[in-house]
Symmetry: C2
Subunit: 296 residues, 2 copies
Amino acid sequence: MSAKEGAKLFAAAKDGDFQAFAKLLTWLERASAEQALAIPELLQPEKAAFRLGITGPPGAGKSTIVGRLIGELRQRGVKVGVIAVDPSSPFSHGAILGDRIRYSEHALDQGVFIRSLGTRGSLGGLSSAAFLMARAFDACGFDLLLIETVGVGQTELDILHVADEVCVVLVPESGDSIQAMKAGLMEIADIFVVNKADRPGADGLAREIEAAIHDGESAKKIKVLKSVASEGQGIAELVDEVLSLQQSSKPLTNRSDSRRLREEAKALLRREWEREIDASLKGLKKPADLKSLVSK
Amino acid sequence: MSAKEGAKLFAAAKDGDFQAFAKLLTWLERASAEQALAIPELLQPEKAAFRLGITGPPGAGKSTIVGRLIGELRQRGVKVGVIAVDPSSPFSHGAILGDRIRYSEHALDQGVFIRSLGTRGSLGGLSSAAFLMARAFDACGFDLLLIETVGVGQTELDILHVADEVCVVLVPESGDSIQAMKAGLMEIADIFVVNKADRPGADGLAREIEAAIHDGESAKKIKVLKSVASEGQGIAELVDEVLSLQQSSKPLTNRSDSRRLREEAKALLRREWEREIDASLKGLKKPADLKSLVSK
């Protein structure tokens, strides 16, 4: 794996070669940060994709919504990318939701690219890969990037640092789990979607969210939408809202938001650290060795 | 915060001063690994507590089970500690399940110590604090340490590296989420508990788990128990099983299992790394700065 290889893949991907783009993303997952950022256009793309995070509890219908969003966005001529983060077991190293079969209707469309990202047991690997891949979507001319991740667990939420805005998907019957999540998700949501809105309790949940938003100190205007994604209901309205958010975002090309830049740097450096640490732990045999290891 | 302060707190805690023990745990959360491991008995305790991880999806009744386990263990004269990991938002920095009011019946019992641990936005902080605190429970004469964590999310599961054995709690109606979790949780479970076993589907779930265990390649004997923790049903049987696991574990005092030792070292070093990294990112202003940061 060399910087040269990455540059070659990037050039082909930029020319519209989807196979090269797929290989580029894999290369970015494995390359060192130094190698990856040696491609100048990753740092300074001509334009940047608007990045929308999509999160919520398991079973809320995030993947269905993503599938429908792709369909609606394509109809409007938007070139759309997806990074779907699979919860994967740190123990089995196997992705649980590995098959993304429901997206397959878009497989032959050159205006859509979907990438599934497993965490593979590394805390830092997930975020750093997502940050670098998002830059590749920018540089290869995508208009919009959807980042789907389950809204439970800190690593999984951390990936939302990659996004410009976040859409939180909830369902009426989640009960306790919604209560638990709201505390965290309320802070990060720019849009709420009450999905499966044909079920009892949808209006109540929507009102509850509206009230919570109203109580919050945030000055930003947060929309609460309803959808039945499996039927395609509410998707056009959601796309309207997403495109309107994209319009009102400041120009994204030169992402200089320093807070986010720091998150990106941290993710990249953490991955480098994790790659180096294992070697230094090889000599560890007994508890007393811990002490010498942490002493400076 | 000094090493001297830690040594003083440790001495008092070892003499049975619960207030000092509480302060010691807070000190360990904040101290550097070097300071913490300067206390010799943390590295080489006279005896070690048997550490049981308790995990499962939100709403499975883990806290209820922990509360009941404490009651039953106390009746049998076991000195028991609890580290309860709160899912906390990396955004609001607030613990969602901060109040542990249901444990309050044990508040005045000197044979029980319960500590709630928030993640406070740090990926590495949680595990390292849990590892160090577990050593404090060892050194201060606890027989058994329960480590309660939600079984969703990688950071949350990572904390189970601290445990000797793991009890996975499931409920009949979890449906999809159980399916999703089994892939990861099957690998780490030493005991399964089907809680809320008075609800429909409990026997079916138990049979399903038995079948999955049977299909697995693992040679270890995994028990599947049923409980209605809110009524206290099944708790005595669970305690029997836990104490039997404790008996069959090899002597734990000198924890030299090198795989786990490496996990502990990694957790401690990661926390040190995270504490140092922010300073180095202060100068970060524009994307091009990323490049110089990752170049060696």
